[in-house]
Symmetry: C2
Subunit: 212 residues, 2 copies
């Protein structure tokens, strides 16, 4: 019997550094599969469908929504983005852990469909810190920074719906904490994978038996 994989959701306010943390975590823990999003936007230079994104047209995307085949979706600047349920479910069923990096709105959508996921909130150490990070990102205009800081208050209040909170004050510390969370979740009795984790099976009864 193969135990199901664990779904890890790395989430947090815009500009908090969750993408950088996700990359560093996956470089350290290599046996986690990153979820691939579907999008209606055009591929950029060097992007491959099925690797960076699943590139689909608007009709196909609408079909995915209609058939409840997305764990979450959003419209960003007239492009649609979503998380295909099938990719995630197939990997989890095979015992493969999966990671998703997503904004807070998306994480809350996923939580309603996958409440067993492990929800990790990446938090800025302070409002000032987040503000200066957004200001130094070339992609953001002053107006969008303002809007994002307003959204941030609501977003921070959602931390209660998560399982874990990790402050991104110092990148390496934050990465180590997320790695620790993954290691710990894999040690949970309910997630313990006999076939993967045990040296021999002489104690199987202790994990799978019907004794009280």
């Amino acid at each position: 019997m193969t135990k199901k994989g664990i779904l890890f959701i790395i989430s947090g306010p815009s500009g908090v550094g969750k993408g950088t943390i996700k990359d560093a975590v996956l470089a350290k823990i290599t046996d986690i599969k990153l979820s691939i999003s579907a999008t209606t936007r055009s591929p950029r230079n060097g992007e491959t469908s099925g690797k960076d994104y699943f590139f689909v047209n608007k009709d196909v995307f609408q079909q995915l929504i209609n058939n409840d085949e997305l764990l979450e979706w959003a419209n960003v600047y007239d492009n649609m983005y979503g998380t295909p349920r099938q990719f995630v479910e197939e990997n989890l069923t095979r015992g493969q852990d999966v990671m998703l990096e997503i904004d807070i709105q998306g994480a809350l959508q996923i939580k309603s469909k996958k409440p067993d996921g492990v929800f990790i909130f990446i938090s800025p150490p302070s409002i000032e810190e987040l503000s200066s990070r957004l200001a130094t990102r070339a992609t953001d205009t002053p107006e969008s920074i303002k809007l994002r800081l307003a959204a941030c208050k609501w977003e921070m209040e959602q931390v209660k719906r998560y399982d874990y909170v990790v402050l991104n004050h110092e990148l390496q510390t934050a990465v180590d904490k997320v790695c620790a969370i993954i290691t710990a979740e894999r040690c949970k009795v309910k997630n313990f994978n006999l076939e993967r984790d045990m040296i021999d099976s002489s104690f199987n009864s202790g994990f799978n038996g019907s004794s009280k």
Copy 2:
């Protein structure tokens, strides 16, 4: 408002190496207080009351039991051992994390009184491994080894009552996993300690506020 500390219980079958793991973990994570047991046995060379044990006579020990001042207790070779509740509670109330290293019977007693504790089961990688470990400990007779292996089957079945299981196949790996569990538990939203963990308090409302 100071959040309460976390109670970590390191437990497992006799001879599994939980004492060695506990020492190595406390050497790495120095801000956890080790619980001190009360005992009726005489101090050995160099042992100090209040540091190694609380040394008490049988009348005092019986009084502790009668007043429900022990989280668990046991009679081992005619000496009484127990975990004073007051020491643990006082530290937790101050926000101080506490660690207890204890056998499985003791851990289950503690679970009935402190269900919020974090229960970590240290597992031998196999029966053969445990058997050879017990055989090389000078303190155990062949009969006691036999008894312990018989008890081990029952003990392994108790793993389901724990939160985490860590295989002690390779000491350093096991130590790293227990440290990861401690780090992860401290990142849990319910254990998050604003005063200890946040750089500033601008986001307090997200953690302590009454918003839905």
